[in-house]
């Protein structure tokens, strides 16, 4: 188990025993970023494995303490760069909970729709790179073809392809652009056949099954004990999904299944995530059908939410509020919240402490990659070195998320 580990010293006497130390990463194409694994191997069997992280540590938690609340939103994009909208949402929900704020229905539905598109985006990158690690190069090209469509949607809605920063405390930055919903509809109608395409290439492919089935098994007890969340936990048979169990941002209005598997190997995690793609596209379809036609996209709180540009040109009050929010920020009542949402990787939690001023006293991000990485040694020890790459891919780690 991961916890009984003693430090692996690199210097040892030659010929002292039969194991050897292998450094995997930090510059390794299959570690999905700058993850370094110190692996002790006996022949091809792994004796111990120890993740070494921190190469991407940027001190975002410290930086937030010097920013106004609204200035933190763009920082949250950079944490998990594959699902920017999820991070925006997690942060905004936490601050809105601190403020005790209600968000208009249309803003909530747009948030849910964009979050599910983000989940698809993130899972597509996972599927493409995971398949490429195993040796199925074709899938990568198909996945990134659809991801390009999603990035165009993001660009359309926020002006940015990756670091969207589209959500604001109290709502959204601007309303959706013209024809956006019909573009999403096009994508949502087309995408299920794309999933079939990926599954045709992989699901019953004998090489894929041989490389994945029975590999990196994790029991439900270990998964819970080691703090794994998201698809990694659900593939071990623990049925928990924060969207369904503790609904936020209007998720209680949507019908979806939570895919689980009791097998607990890499193939099970693959199946769970591919089914999640189908569920997510179902939620997007429900959003499109039930989207409130018109209405506010920001809460009615002039001291917190920036005024519309048009009003600023004609109304003195709006101009004053704009000036005050930009120069002084807004005070948040003292207190603390922990708000967790279901990111594509698992439980993304924000713990925010306010001391009553316009800057957060402490912001802590509970990032799913960081916790899921603890499960890696349990998956790999005692198994073959060739399976490490499959195990890393199966926990869907993003090192920006891990190191913050």
């Amino acid at each position: 188990m991961a916890l009984t580990q003693t430090p692996i010293t690199i210097e040892r006497e030659p010929g002292a025993d039969r194991t050897m130390i292998l450094n995997m990463g930090p510059q390794h194409p299959s570690t999905h970023g700058v993850l370094r694994l110190v692996v002790e191997i006996d022949g091809e069997t792994i004796v111990r494995i120890m993740p070494d992280i921190g190469y991407l540590h940027t001190g975002i938690e410290k930086t937030t303490e010097a920013k106004f609340y609204q200035q933190v939103v763009p920082l949250t994009d950079r944490i998990d760069y594959l699902c920017p909208m999820t991070n925006n949402l997690a942060y905004c929900l936490a601050v809105e909970k601190l403020l005790g704020m209600e968000i208009p229905k249309r803003a909530q539905w747009i948030r849910v729709m964009l979050n599910e598109i983000t989940r698809i985006n993130s899972h597509l990158v996972w599927l493409g790179t995971h398949a490429m690690d195993i040796g199925a190069l074709t899938v990568f090209l198909y996945c990134f073809r659809e991801r390009e469509d999603i990035l165009r949607l993001f660009e359309m809605v926020s002006g940015q392809r990756m670091m969207t920063s589209y959500f604001r405390i109290g709502g959204l930055a601007v309303d959706l652009p013209l024809n956006f919903l019909s573009r999403v509809k096009d994508f949502a109608d087309r995408f299920p056949s794309n999933i079939d395409q990926y599954e045709n290439l992989l699901t019953n492919n004998p090489i894929w099954m041989n490389r994945l089935k029975g590999v990196a098994y994790m029991s439900p007890e270990d998964a819970v004990a080691l703090g794994a969340t998201g698809p990694t936990l659900r593939a071990s048979g623990v049925d928990i999904d924060l969207r369904r169990d503790t609904p936020y941002s209007g998720y209680e209005n949507f019908k979806f299944n939570v895919p689980t598997s009791t097998v607990g190997d890499v193939y099970a995690r693959y199946q769970v995530r591919v089914q999640e793609l189908r569920e997510s596209i179902g939620i997007v379809q429900q959003c499109l059908e039930g989207m409130p036609e018109a209405g506010p996209i920001k809460a009615d709180a002039p001291k917190i939410v920036l005024p519309d540009r048009e009003n600023m040109k004609t109304q003195m009050e709006s101009l004053i509020y704009h000036f005050k929010i930009i120069t002084e920020g807004f005070a948040v009542p003292a207190g603390e919240v922990y708000s967790a949402i279901e990111s594509p990787r698992g439980e993304m939690g924000y713990y925010i402490v306010s001391d009553g001023t316009a800057k957060p006293y402490r912001v802590h991000m509970r990032s799913p990659s960081f916790a899921n990485l603890q499960a890696l040694p349990a998956m790999c020890e005692g198994r073959l070195i060739a399976d490490v790459v499959a195990a890393i891919g199966s926990i869907d780690i993003v090192l920006g998320d891990c190191d913050r």
């Binding site: 580990q5 403020l99 009542p333 939690g349």
Partner: protein
């Protein structure tokens, strides 16, 4: 939606199963409780943390089997300076609880809960690295984010946000 005022009186919080169970187990271990913004916070005395963690995990009705997160808040310059924060989740009951332990700056040590929840491994290393809190009984308490030869603990409030130390 105006905020409801926070409840800090333990007597009023006795209807919460977590508080009631902890009071029934060992009323001396509690150092206060608070219900604010629909979230329950319980302060535990430092030397009682490990038994309290064990109790909360193994209690037949509470079942806090999942430790989501461990972090810390620095209240410099007031004392007790540090608050170590544990976010618990009960997967069967889908409910959360926040445990807190207050630590003085001259004795910033607390027992590791690794024997109760193994997932605290990385989280406690992170708090050790960025706040300088020692977790007794942790099997491998080394820096995790910063380089091993780094001086100081960046998330402490007396550590500057920018500029050279």
């Amino acid at each position: 939606m105006p905020l409801a005022p926070a409840i800090t009186d333990i007597e009023q919080l006795k209807d919460k199963p977590e508080v009631a169970a902890l009071l029934g187990w060992n009323a001396d271990a509690l150092d206060g409780a608070k219900f604010d913004r629909n979230e329950l916070i319980v302060w535990i005395k430092r030397d009682q943390l490990l038994p309290a963690a064990q109790f909360l995990r193994d209690h037949a009705e509470l079942k806090f089997n999942f430790l989501s997160d461990v972090t810390c808040v620095d209240w410099y310059p007031s004392e007790p300076r540090f608050e170590v924060v544990y976010q618990l989740l009960s997967i069967p009951r889908k409910s959360r609880l926040r445990l807190k332990v207050k630590l003085n700056s001259d004795d910033a040590r607390v027992q590791s809960v690794i024997s109760v929840w193994q997932s605290c491994n990385f989280f406690e290393r992170e708090v050790f690295d960025l706040f300088g809190i020692t977790f007794e009984g942790h099997p491998y308490l080394k820096r995790i984010m910063m380089p091993e030869d780094w001086k100081g603990h960046p998330l402490r409030k007396d550590y500057p946000v920018e500029g050279y130390r």
